[in-house]
Amino acid sequence: MNRLESVMSLTQPLCLALALLAWTGPNTAMAAPPPGPALPVNCSGDYRVDKTLSNGARWTLCWEPRFLEGVVLRDVVYTAPQGEPVLVLSRANPAQIHVPYDDNGARFHDVSDYGLGGPHLARLDSADCPEGELRSNGERPVVCLKVVNRGYVTKYYTTALQGEALRLYSVSHVGEYNYIYDYGFYDDGSIEFAVGASGKLQIYTRNAEKGEKYGWPLGALQYGVSHVHNYYWRLDFDLAGVDDDQVEELAFPPEDETRETRIKVQTAFTEEAARTVEPENFRSWRIKDTRLTNADGHSISYHLEADPAHRFLGPDYEPFTESEVYITRYRLCERFASHNPSWNGCAEDAPGFVNGESLEGEDLVLWYGQAFHHLPSDEDEPKMHTHWSRFYVRPRDLNSESPLTSSAAASQEAHPHSHAH
């Protein structure tokens, strides 16, 4: 232990005695532990986040800066207004940024081969976090926390309910790129996962033939080479605890060749699986608890609604690009979707993690990948405008009715069925 910790631990009994003697009630309330049911708190100081939003929704979590992953979120717990705390995620973090260039001039795997943390996790200052709260790793501010107005929760005739979200972001620089990892924790229990690609373009060519084929003309005599950012996430959902979770796929194919009707198809995964997006059938996934239900008797779950604009399928030697979703059994050594360190025979990529193991009664991890094809433009110079790739996971049947609009409906709607306009 360092000297400060030694002193603090030695003086703890004395401090405790003095604190009890000095206790005067409300004036020392800010020194008391936060209210609510006690949950194990596995982090301290700046690494601990505990925010209650204006409508009473509360998010608690820990963040940890790690050398390769950058900022890792842990023990993410949502408490709805008047609700009970629900563990949503045990761990969430970037699991790779794969950047292949259209001319095959480079194929980067930034998280594993460079690292988003350590010296690459940017020092932030007030310009990075206006009206927010900087959180530090030691002496280095690296995370910004802020509560933002996020627009309508709901709108219904004369009902207008505005909402808030807690945002937590950090920046990692990889060469010319600055990646902003920005998490949104909404008052309704939704979580937004966003990556912003910013900074400057990494690769140019002066070769006109190559530039016309693989890029876009920029500035004087140069072309920016087009490329893809494949962002992978490792989402260790432990909905209301490690046990009894299951991943289910939802799809809505046409019932027959007339395509006049569509049927709901639900597939629960009993074995590890790799799945692709399928927008034409509105394919999505949810993590449900097989034991816990809401007051209506419906299984509680969180829903990942994939909404891909781009999809990247790479060469044979990039098999991890074949699927957007991987559902695996929890294994600590399985960290990155590609270039996973193969310590003690751990598999090298996400397809390798999927090896037929049963998921029944097991601790699950969900992996998700999103692609963005970047066609450079003149607006990318002298510095790029940030481009965001994002997705959401939302509560599905976490509560038997909306924890936000139910109280709003009671207070704001006098005549719910009369439409005056």
């Binding site: 603090m8 703890q12 405790l16 301290s44 100081g45 790690r66």
Partner: protein
């Protein structure tokens, strides 16, 4: 960390804050997920370096590069609100000559190395010294050095004087991640330790070449795929 939190409480609440800080610091001292302090990191390296297994591996290697040290992530069941959470460190080093990465798990509470192993084919990111060595090798190479100087002139409008004119970042390069680039000494990259350099001028203009360097063989690879015509 917790020290910063204590100062926050002191600023906000004066004496009451200090008392609260003492109480709180004692009960939440070094949460299980809190990063290791600099003192803990230093101690982890000392303990690892003093281990006989470490010394044996170091003696066999032509060069040992300390890569990074961080909190060892424990299995999920082992972090369930422990009163005195584990404080263990991962120490990573590269053993040139043997072409293996060394991994030690150091228990800081007990002052001992719990496990220490070395394995081929695992390539953690390059440390600053390795990145610099890659640049120096590339600049010194007749072919790669010439391309760098030509591209620097195109980007900066003047001749390259020295490495001080450049900003450089280096990523690990694996041959099987980019077969088209994996020529010559680069074909062994992955099994051997290789760098791919990203270069800009000091005023952040990209230099249009990404040299590959095999650090295990102290050789720059001809950067043919990246040469501008």
């Amino acid at each position: 960390m917790h020290a910063a939190g204590s100062r926050w409480l002191l600023r906000r609440g004066g004496v009451a804050g200090w008392l609260g800080a003492c109480l709180w610091a004692g009960s939440v001292l070094a949460g299980a997920y809190d990063p290791l302090t600099q003192a803990e990191l230093d101690r982890a390296v000392q303990l690892a370096q003093a281990d006989q297994r470490f010394k044996t591996l170091q003696a066999r290697a032509s060069r040992l590069e300390l890569l990074f040290v961080e909190r060892h992530e424990e299995g999920k069941s082992q972090t369930a609100g422990d009163e005195r959470p584990a404080r263990r460190a991962d120490v990573f080093a590269y053993l040139y000559g043997q072409e293996q990465t060394l991994h030690a798990v150091v228990d800081l509470n007990r002052g001992r190395v719990d496990q220490l192993s070395a394995q081929a084919g695992v390539q953690p990111p390059l440390n600053p010294a390795e990145s610099r060595r890659a640049l120096d090798l590339a600049l010194a190479d007749p072919q790669a050095g010439k391309v760098i100087r030509d591209e620097y002139r195109a980007a900066a409008g003047r001749a390259l004087q020295s490495a001080a004119d450049l900003r450089w970042r280096a990523l690990i390069f694996y041959a099987d991640a980019h077969p088209a680039a994996a020529e010559g000494e680069a074909s062994a990259c992955g099994a051997e330790r290789c760098a791919q350099l990203l270069l800009t001028t000091r005023d952040n203009t990209v230099v249009n070449v990404m040299p590959l360097v095999n650090l295990s063989r102290n050789a720059a690879v001809a950067s043919a795929p990246f040469v501008e015509n």
